[in-house]
């Protein structure tokens, strides 16, 4: 019987290796799989390339992973956020690389990676510094830049409901990058607020089909990043 459920956060992230490329869902704190990130901190993998829209805030979650010097490169659209000090300090000290990508291009590159599209043309960033060194091409009189699909070794994603096949639903704007990141990683690791019986999710409302998911762990009461930050907590506690 197919059952993608695992019994602990540690088991969920156990195979992540040094040098891995990891996609991490979330837009700010919404959709950020904070418990999985903390498990990854405990697990020890380093020299990571992380693909995520932001760089975390305070000293928990993604910011804590960066603070532990485990991330050598960030691929993101908006590395500055409220209460984000860890990334800016390391960046200014030259201790972390940044690949800055327009948000829509980031989303499309991830989707392309998952969909077997090696490269596509987009109008975003043409005539800006972010298109520098990239191939530009005119279609029907408009200039576009060639962007490549991104794949990852792992994705860490937060969702709402999951079943044993890995079918997922999300909550509100926590959906954001989760569905496309599940498609673009060799191994997708998902924390669900609740794991339900196969068939409990209406086939019409599944957002992420199980084929894109490898491991599921139930985290019934996920922390809110902003609360941890307001309490000035640092991970590891």
């Amino acid at each position: 019987m197919i059952n993608k459920t695992v019994q602990s956060l540690a088991e969920a992230v156990q195979n992540i290796h040094d040098g891995a490329t990891i996609m991490i869902s979330g837009f700010g704190e919404a959709g950020s799989p904070i418990e999985l990130i903390h498990a990854l901190i405990d697990q020890g993998a380093k020299d990571l390339t992380v693909v995520s829209n932001n760089t975390g805030s305070g000293n928990v979650g993604l910011a804590a992973l960066i603070e532990q010097r485990r991330v050598k490169k960030m691929i993101c659209s908006f590395p500055r956020t409220a209460n984000s000090t860890v990334f800016p300090e390391l960046y200014n000290a030259g201790e972390i690389e940044l690949e800055l990508v327009p948000q829509g291009t980031l989303a499309e590159r991830i989707r392309a990676g998952g969909a077997g599209i090696p490269a596509f043309y987009t109008p975003a960033s043409v005539n800006t510094p972010l298109a520098k060194g990239k191939e530009c091409r005119v279609f029907d009189g408009i200039e576009y830049v060639l962007e490549k699909g991104i794949k990852a070794d792992f994705s860490l994603v937060k969702c709402e409901l999951a079943d044993r096949y890995g079918n997922l639903t999300y909550h509100a704007t926590a959906r954001n990058f989760g569905p496309i990141m599940c498609t673009a990683a060799k191994t997708s690791i998902v924390q669900a607020r609740k794991i339900v019986e196969a068939g409990a999710i209406d086939p019409e409302i599944v957002v992420t089909p199980g084929i894109f998911v490898n491991h599921i762990i139930e985290v019934s009461k996920p922390a809110n990043e902003s609360e941890l930050v307001s309490q000035k907590l640092t991970y590891p506690w």
Binding site: F27, G28, E29, A30, G31, N53, S77, F78, P79, R80, T81, A82, F87, P88, Y91, N92, L98, L100, V101, P102, Q103, G104, T105, L106, A107, E108, I110, R111, T122, P123, A124, S125, V126, N127, T128, P129, L130, Y170, H171, A172, T173, A174, R175, N176, F177, G178, P179, I180, V207, N224, E225, S226
Partner: protein, 217 residues
């Protein structure tokens, strides 16, 4: 002296009102972070606008009541919002299908600099020590049908923001349709910058003096 007179130009709320007046009934609208968000408070009666936020919500409603916030129901500025009946959620690739695909009618953005041919710079000063952060701005200006800019006419230290050429890195080239400042409403046309309306107690000469690029009436 004219500069010291109190009621020169529009207030921020009046600026937001000016923008809101130019958005037709039924439009799909994306509002940038900051001053653009104010536009939603001044939609003329009888018009229904639908707000898209690029983090995955179409049909964004008002700010929630205190205590009703959901940290996973937020806007692009990462502030709590609500949904209207008839809203829907979607992932980021679908969100930018709306944006890049030309389905959003109007985007209202702030600006650091605008050039006479409608170039916009609003994401980076290019300073060596600044952490660059672009978000969805480049996708919005490349994809949305009409880009309206709302901004103070001059920088805090009195420098022109409407220039012959932007010195900051561009967000997009030739993308701005109209500029709504505290001093005037200016349309970007092929032939140059045309003043459509002057703010209260602003005359053309005064406006030109505070603008690097040549203005037309």
């Amino acid at each position: 002296m004219v500069e010291k007179q109190i009621n020169i130009g529009w207030s921020k709320t009046e600026m937001a009102q000016n923008v809101a007046m130019d958005i037709p009934d039924g439009s799909y609208v994306n509002l940038g972070i900051g001053m653009p968000e104010m536009v939603a408070d001044f939609v003329p009666e009888g018009r229904e606008l639908i707000y898209q936020t690029e983090n995955g919500l179409l049909g964004m409603g008002a700010v929630p009541m205190a205590g009703q916030e959901d940290p996973e129901l937020i806007n692009a500025g990462k502030k709590p919002v609500t949904t209207i009946p008839g809203a829907c959620f979607f992932h980021h690739a679908d969100s930018f299908t709306m944006i890049r695909g030309g389905h959003i009618d109007v985007c209202v953005l702030g600006a650091m600099q605008i050039s006479k041919n409608g170039d916009l710079a609003n994401w980076s000063t290019g300073a060596a020590n600044a952490i660059p952060a672009v978000g969805g701005a480049m996708d919005l200006v490349a994809g949305v049908k009409r880009i309206l800019v709302i901004t103070q006419h001059n920088t805090k230290d009195g420098k022109a923001k409407i220039l012959n050429q932007c010195s900051y890195p561009l967000t997009g080239k030739g993308v701005v349709e109209s500029i709504y400042t505290n001093l005037a409403i200016i349309d970007v046309k092929d032939e140059g910058l045309y003043v459509r309306k002057l703010g209260p107690n602003v005359d053309f000469e005064y406006l030109q003096k505070h603008t690097e690029a040549k203005l037309y009436q």
